[in-house]
Symmetry: D2
Subunit: 445 residues, 4 copies
């Protein structure tokens, strides 16, 4: 679902007054059901009423969603008067009782509504879908923020790691799950069933987290290649025709793709837990594997590059770089040996600099770096012409990074990162970063 | 675990100053782990730290539990100053933002702590067990009320109906689950495996709710006999030697036992949902079954009877009754035909009166009646000498009740009960109640 | 595997004397292992030795297969002398003992060898594959007939219906099984995963028999469309873009494809059992379905047509037919309304005649007819332009047949067919057959 | 079922002529169904007819079983005339074709009948049960030998190791299987669920073979204790109150009980395969375990002892032994230290002699020794007062043996045993045997 245009469509459609009236009516009917569900009777009629409300939600015309969210925001929030009183009581006397009372009043009735909707079959899926739609429209409707906060709060409780199961995905997995991988894959597109099959052969592993209430929906999945040595390029891994190697001879596990599947679960993070548990699983199955590392894109590199042109222009070295990097705009520059070599010479130090030093609000500008460094990995190696796909060239200028997970250092690295916002990198990479003109006195920020 | 004496033992033990110091130390170590788990690093080290904290909790000496709960209550509550400020902010301007802020501050950090503990394997079971222990000591330690409120709040979210699975229990069920039935059964004791086997034969059904995180632990289970006609006595149902009848010839499903298994889930109610879903399942499997009814004890009847002696003494009819009912104290009175008959004559109307009219705070005094009437069942029939076990004679004077669930009336009955606190009963039962001396003008309350 | 050319290749390759020697050596090594396995020790070393022998078999170079089969035929047959003696003993005195002795001696040791090979993991699959290879070469090597007889005898015992499980195949089925459907489908090619998915939607059913020792290998599968009315053409059923209809509104189940998957199980028949059990399953799930029928090709029709040209030439009517049917050789004749109509007029009665009367050894010439009539179905309806695929036009001139399975008549129909070799057909179809010139006096056979 | 008395009862009952006539009629009806099932129609009506025949078999009155077996023996045997002809043909010309023909004719139609009965649900269980009943009566009815041969032949094919699955049995196993263990245990009685539970704790393992057609019926099961050092007595292993030890600290696996469960599968042997596969499984789970040994009874020792009295009397040493061993008849002799010691001194060498030298037809007299030595184990150690149960004292004079399975020697040992009938024993045990008076020159056999 392409949510922005979806909402534009809605907005256009509700200009029609008839349609608007109908949307209002539909939304109000659903809200009435929600109110019943929240009443004392609702608790007893239980699943039946939840089922009815859910059916009404599913048959809600798209253009009535706005009205529904509006009502959800206005009618199922805490009662300001009561809450104000409870606040005053608490301030007057902050006892356990006044606190418990405050706690109960401050929780928007929406949360209980969502919990009751969840009693019906398919409830969890519907609520996750509801948040996906909501998120798509939140920018235009900041007044719905409270709804989002409620759903996020619920989901972070429901999708607790203790309730998730890690499952291996392979060719024995049901097709209904496999097709989701093809659909969701966010890093290196899966072009079809043949491509998927190659990624599930004996020299690969794929794992996903599942929640019992969404048995056919992976929450997040990771793809791993079992290799000899740390992969320096992704195309060989994606090559459909590549020979399947013997996994028992592998010494390295390369995490080459990790995808969050459910937009409705935004900011409920599973990635960190998944990587670590998968590393544990692999260690068990393949005692010979010594290295756990990613092969990751540098997605915002070229954007950042554009943003530092002025800075580069401040030094002669920088100007040379700028001059040389103009080649990046020539088509297929990287296929000509001389071009490639000169670009490499100037670009790699810049990228190292970007990864080690480019920050925003104290954290690395690069989202992927933020994620892996935050998990306790270390910036290990920069790989030249590692992803020569159109996408890879456009965003990362073909560069990819190995972030290495040394299981014994992970906690320390994470500590250092969190407390001091210091980027843990290999000496070689740090050296590269120092070679960048931006690292020179005149070029420092 | 016999909690009261368990806590008495603890209290005794901590008089010893050495032990007390050790308890404090152990509890503080655990609390330190909990604090790490709650820190930002805790989120990342994730499951590992949770595992460690859980292990520390499990190895906590019993006598250190007091200290642990004390620290849990004092150290993981909201910060009163911050919260007071947030209250004042909200009162000053009750916007979505100030509400969300208030919402986050009012939630005790304990809840997040519990959620993180839950990441480790066995976390859910440990937390449910923790609340069981806490509940056993709450009377003596009202200052722990907040901990209980937090756990209850979490559990009511986690054990949402949408996450439970209904499973049939039969002789194909793993022994590890079956032995729990023997252990937990709360209504009619299961004397061993042979007894259990009889209750799982072809003319019986047993269903339980399970939560995915507690795969070997039923949360609640119900035992059903498939009979011809509505059972009027429980001993034939419990008879190990009774012949197994053909379930296809049954026209009635008798719910003769329902047991909540987890004390740690107190006030998270599943019973109502279970009865209704089981009725649906049975309807599917046995289209010929027309009647769904319980065969239930009247557990507080004799207590109540003792409490109305004075009232009875107010009328001549009442005095006669009191006189006749002295037989109840004779051993085996019910085995002598004449005795039994005279007792029956006077006792049955009293019991009918008790069920229909005896109230406390507007609700029926009888807990079982409260449960089934609240679910929308109707008081159908009183059965004389229906449970002649020692237990049954002592508490219910041998009487049992059929509460009938008519699927079409359930919602209405419930409505009537909730709104008007009116007891829905069969005409025959109401008539019986009117025959009771307490119903007479002079005897009215 | 394309067996004929495979064997041709082998034969060519073994002209080389070196290779021949090597083949012989390899085959002899395997045979030596087989002999060990058959020895008394073999029974005890059991699975280990079987594993070894199986590994040797799997690594046998293709060109050594001939030598292996030769040795299998010559060395593991009953001892003629011993057997002759046992025959004479039995003839002299046909007692239970002499019979049991004869029984044990006549069973080729190969059977025990195969049973012992089966002890290793993957044994069953290897043996089924061995027979597939054997069957491909049997014409050229009639001396291997005994091996085939042994394997067939074993398989008909091992693949007994009592050991098979019927499983529904749908989008929840593992990919490793689904890809087999794409590979094996023998009636209407499955063009890929999208095509397969359409055939597994809500308005379709697919079932297969599985054997526990071959969990990822369907033995036979059937595809069913749930429709309103009896389908008269197959292209709408195969249309990837067709709307998915509500299966609850269906009154008819159309079996439009049935495929035996394992060549190595030739003449072990499952089809009859599958169709009947699937009909039972559908009856259970969809009580509204009244009609169970196939939509089947007439695969040998055009071949037969060519063979009766002379006969047709014997009458004037026949000659007209022959003349008109020349259009069949024009490209895309069926797309021109006038052509199509004239062809239809003459061809349909011929096809009806073919189905009802064309026999060979007393049984219908048409293999598909033989199968369904033998199962107790009845020839219900001929459908014009029902399969306009290239394949369908070439073999069946676009015609398809509905064979109807009336569950109550199946046994009678079968009886009639088996005893009298009478074809059970609808009156309309019989009438059509009578209109064919070959039915006319001068044209009768 | 107590078969001998069961058959006596039958025999008595059929003296009554009316009953006899009814039995005949019932048996004939069933035989008629069997004949239909074997007809060509039977193949098509398939499962339905098999179901009917099976139902008729199950409802056959016990006293009609004789008549049924008689008919089975007389009517479903090969046709002597046809078979004689086939024998003569084969003798005249022993070609592949005449062999195949002979093969098909010599197979009693009963085998095909049994295969077809097997198509119905529950068929396999019914046939196994049928053989159990048959075996119980075979001594009295040698004319049924052929039926038994047929069933045995079928079962040895159907219950091939390749079709069996090894399953661990523990407290997660369904009760329906666990109760079978209690029922079937043949070596050390399981006294109830508590006893069973102890045998399934963390320091024990239990494994069984299952066949897919009998999912709730173990075929054979073995009980293993994980211990430190080789157990010298069985009572500690059977002690319900014994502490559960940490399996990770074990260095020895003691197979202390192995039970064949299905009498109807007599002479289809699984024990050898089970022991070896279980040893493999344990090796995988517990790399520290170095010793795999049994703790086995010497069931026929005292019988044998009685039989060698005369031989003992031939030497002075022997006469002393005989004198001393009279104590064995005193009650509780083994509880008096002096008695026990003197008995031990004389009895242990005799038992060693018995195990190493006592043979019948070249094989050890002792059935348990025959089984384990035949599997390649070695006689390791004799244990004094190792089983002081009533049973153990009566049959084995309290002695038990450790047979050790050294995985590397198993094959060699087996070879030696099979070819030379030599008993592989530890030096210590051989030395003990030499000390026995029967080993002395005058006492040699």
């Amino acid at each position: 679902m392409d949510t922005p245009s979806f909402f534009k469509r809605i907005i256009r459609s509700v200009v029609d007054p008839d349609k608007r009236a109908r949307a209002d009516r539909k939304a109000r009917q659903l809200i009435a059901l929600c109110r019943s569900l929240l009443s004392e009777g609702g608790e007893v009629s239980g699943a039946a009423l939840a089922r009815e409300a859910l059916a009404a939600y599913h048959s809600l015309p798209e253009f009535a969603l706005l009205a529904f969210f509006d009502l959800l925001a206005s009618e199922f929030s805490p009662d300001p008067q009561e809450l104000t009183r409870a606040c005053q009581d608490y301030c007057a006397q902050p006892s356990p009782d006044s606190l418990i009372r405050l706690f109960h009043l401050v929780e928007p009735p929406r949360q209980e509504l969502f919990r009751r909707l969840n009693m019906a079959a398919g409830g969890t899926a519907a609520l996750v879908g509801m948040r996906e739609r909501l998120l798509g429209a939140l920018k235009a409707h900041p007044e719905w923020k409270g709804i989002d906060a409620d759903l996020e709060h619920l989901f972070s409780s429901w999708f607790n790691r203790g309730f998730l199961t890690l499952k291996r995905i392979d060719w024995h997995t049901p097709a209904i799950i496999l097709e989701k991988l093809i659909k969701y894959e966010a890093v290196h597109e899966i072009t079809g069933w043949r491509d998927l099959h190659r990624r599930l052969e004996a020299d690969r592993r794929c794992f996903a987290f599942f929640h019992p209430a969404l048995p056919d929906e992976p929450l997040i999945f990771i793809e791993v290649a079992l290799t000899r040595g740390m992969s320096a390029a992704v195309q060989p891994l994606l090559d459909l025709g590549s020979a399947v190697s013997d996994p028992q001879s592998a010494d390295t596990a390369i995490f080459y793709s990790i995808t969050n599947c459910q937009r409705g679960l935004r900011s409920i993070s599973f990635g960190n837990l998944l990587i670590k548990q998968v590393a544990q699983e692999l260690k068990q199955e393949f005692p010979r594997i010594r290295t756990y590392a990613t092969l990751s894109p540098v997605p915002a590199f070229r954007n950042w590059l554009a943003s530092v042109q002025e800075q580069l222009a401040a030094t002669a070295a920088g100007r040379t770089v700028t001059e040389e990097l103009k080649r990046l705009d020539e088509p297929e520059w990287f296929k000509r040996a001389d071009s490639a070599e000169r670009v490499q010479k100037h670009l790699v130090p810049l990228c190292a600099y970007y990864l080690v030093h480019a920050k925003s609000d104290g954290e690395p500008v690069d989202g992927v770096a933020r994620f892996h460094l935050g998990n306790g990995a270390r910036l290990e190696r920069l790989n030249w012409l590692a992803d020569i796909s159109k996408h890879g060239m456009q965003r990362s200028a073909g560069l990819m990074v190995n972030y290495q997970y040394r299981l014994d250092d992970v906690e320390n690295n994470h500590e250092v990162y969190v407390k001091e916002h210091r980027v843990v990198a290999s000496p070689k990479l740090k050296k590269l970063a120092r070679e960048c003109p931006l690292s020179q006195p005149a070029g420092k920020r």
